[in-house]
Every structure is written in structure tokens, then in C-alpha cells.
Subunit: 205 residues, 2 copies
């Protein structure tokens, strides 16, 4: 593409490096910013720089946080349940359900031999340490990982590591999504949801 200005070209190039944003969208965003108040662009830039320079990871739960001691072990209610997730978006998603009141532990990724990610690169050792140090306070670990090959491998690895502590290990329910149509569900999900069928409860259904 030919741009009338080097400055536009630079901005388009930088914006289009973001995932899911092509050159056309980048150009649209660039021209949008040009039409806005100068202040709007300044605030955007500042927020990005602050984000990148100031965010830290909590030493305990490895969640992205404003400080190295996040509120992970104080504000949430139930210290006996620990929910293990792949990354921060999962924490946000689970928090937004308002159905979980325990602690989180962010792995920072998932075991994936294809992408060269082994257990050593993830926060698994610190999870084991955390369970160990809780001296029986943590009674249940929920493995809230995606039901993919990598997610299952990671869950299997962690479950094996946690076995000596004799705590309850659970995984999020897999099945037909609420609102989903049976006929369009894939065979594996449908099959599992029949094998792992639940007692019908008129109060929740």
C-alpha cells in the first residue's frame, strides 16, 4: 500500500503487528486517532506504556498484578480451594461467573511439546510448594484447563505431582454448553456427557 505520510505508515505498521488486526483495520484506527483529540492518543499511549512497564506477577499466585503481592490471599473467601488455570484471561473469565470464591494459581502456559513448552517453564513447582506449605489448609485443587490435548496432558502431569498430598483433585465439567444444540455437539463431547451423566435435579435445571 502507498501511504501519503511516513507517520501514517509507521503507525499502521505498528498497529497491524497486533493479533487479528490487518493493514486495512490498522489504517482505519490510525485515521480515527487523527480525527480525535490529541489527548485521546496520549492517554492510549500512556496506558500501554504503563501497562508494559509497571505490571508485575504476583509471587504467590503468578497472576498479573499491580504489585508483587497481589490480593490473592486476602480478599477472596475460601482458602481451602485452589483453582489452577493456564493464564490471566481464565482468571478473569472465572471471576466473572461469580461462582468461585477460592484462590487462583496461574500456570503461565500449558505443557506443549509442539511449541517446546515443558513443565519446567510453567509455575508447577510453585503450585506443589504452595500446596505443601499450606499444611493441609488447601483441601481441593480444581484443574480448570481447556479440554484440549495439551490441557489434558498438563492436568495429568499436575494430578500425578499432587497425588502424594492426598487432597481432592477435580476438573471443570465438560459437556454440552448451556444453550447448545444436541445435534450439533461433537461426538466426543456428547459421548462423554452421556457417560458422565448427572442425577436430574429439578431445582437447578
Amino acid at each position: 500500500m502507498l501511504y501519503p505520510s511516513k507517520l501514517i505508515e509507521d503507525a499502521v505498521n505498528e498497529i497491524s503487528k497486533l493479533p487479528g488486526i490487518g493493514k486495512k483495520t490498522a489504517l482505519r484506527l490510525t485515521l480515527h486517532l487523527l480525527k480525535q483529540d490529541e489527548n485521546a492518543t496520549e492517554k492510549l499511549s500512556e496506558a500501554l506504556i504503563n501497562l508494559r512497564k509497571k505490571t508485575k506477577y504476583c509471587r504467590i499466585c503468578h497472576i498479573i498484578s499491580d504489585s508483587e503481592d497481589c490480593t490473592c490471599e486476602s480478599i477472596r473467601k475460601d482458602s481451602s480451594i485452589l483453582c489452577v488455570v493456564e493464564d490471566t484471561p481464565d482468571v478473569i473469565a472465572i471471576q466473572n461467573t461469580a461462582q468461585f470464591y477460592g484462590y487462583f494459581h496461574v500456570l503461565g502456559g500449558i505443557i506443549s511439546p509442539m511449541e517446546g513448552v515443558g513443565p519446567g517453564e510453567l509455575n508447577i513447582e510453585s503450585l506443589i510448594d504452595r500446596v505443601k506449605k499450606s499444611s493441609g489448609l488447601i483441601k481441593e485443587v480444581i484443574l480448570a484447563l481447556s479440554p484440549t490435548m495439551e490441557g489434558d496432558t498438563t492436568a495429568f502431569y499436575i494430578a500425578k505431582k499432587l497425588k502424594p498430598f492426598n487432597i481432592k483433585i477435580t476438573t471443570i465439567a465438560r459437556g454440552i454448553p448451556i444453550g447448545g444444540e444436541l445435534e450439533y455437539a461433537d461426538e466426543i463431547t456428547l459421548g462423554r456427557s452421556i457417560v458422565q451423566r448427572l442425577e436430574y435435579d429439578a431445582t437447578t435445571n
Copy 2:
């Protein structure tokens, strides 16, 4: 949405102010930047700030440019044709066709009583001036405006203003897009494309 960090929240809020980007996409972009090198975010921020602070509008053609004297009247070939467009993206689109070698004139908008944009807010006076000052050098003005109500109104207004100069006034061809299916074309477009039919030319068809 609950965010684990105020910094993430700020970044998400700023990014989601951009057109077509919601909170979820903004969060995805934010977490992407956090995973990238710090340098990537710095370059993005810098490009945005430079864009907003340093871009100027050319005094002659009103195109967005790095300086107030863009190369509008030097590098392009044919000084006898002037193409009038609504805004900078149109200039980029037409340049990318590599079918036009004349000069451009950016109106900076389109007459739209609904949005309170009158002829006075657009670069129409400067277009008339430009044609006047060219003392006959500009022989044709192409009105490359969108075939909408507003575009047609603006074209009509400009055509009337340019009438005294006795130059050729043309408009971009309207018709069935190349690759388009006849049966799906709207009636007005199809009707016009029959009324304004062209002599069949085996060399270009």
C-alpha cells in the same frame, strides 16, 4: 468485568475506545502486548504519539502529510486532471489502483445536513481557488465521491461551483462491480448500468 490489575483495566478501557474494538478484543490485545518484548509496546506508543503530534495537512491538496507542503504537485504526472475525494483513505485506495496519475484534492468530509456538515466546513473554496489559479492548466475535475445521497449532493454542489470555469467535470463509473453477480445487484445500480451502457471493447473485456 473484574480485572486483576488497574493497569490492565486502564489499557483495556483506552484500547476499547477505538472503533470496532470491544472489551474482549481489547483484553486480548492487552495480554498480547504483555507477552511481547517491552520494546514492541514502546514502538507502538511512539508511532501513535508521532502520528498525532507531527502529521500535518497539505496547504494545497489537504491530504494528510508529513509537512504542510506535500509532494502533491511534484511527483505525480498529469497536472491537467484533479481528482476530488472525501478523505485520505480514498486517496490511498485510488493510488493503489495505479490507474490515476493526476493530482488529488481532499474535501475533508462530505456535505451532510444530518450531521451538520455544510459546504463551508469542507475544502471546497480552496478547490475553486485552485482551479482558478491554475489558469486553464487543470482541464478535468473527477468527482470521486461515494454514490450515496451525501456524495451525490456534494458532487452536485461542486459541479455547480465549477461551471463558470468551463472545464470537463467527470464522475467515477457506477455499475456492477467486477466479479459481481447480476442477479444480486440492486435495481438502481443495474438500471443505471443499462442506461449508461458502454460500447463493447474486446481489448478490455
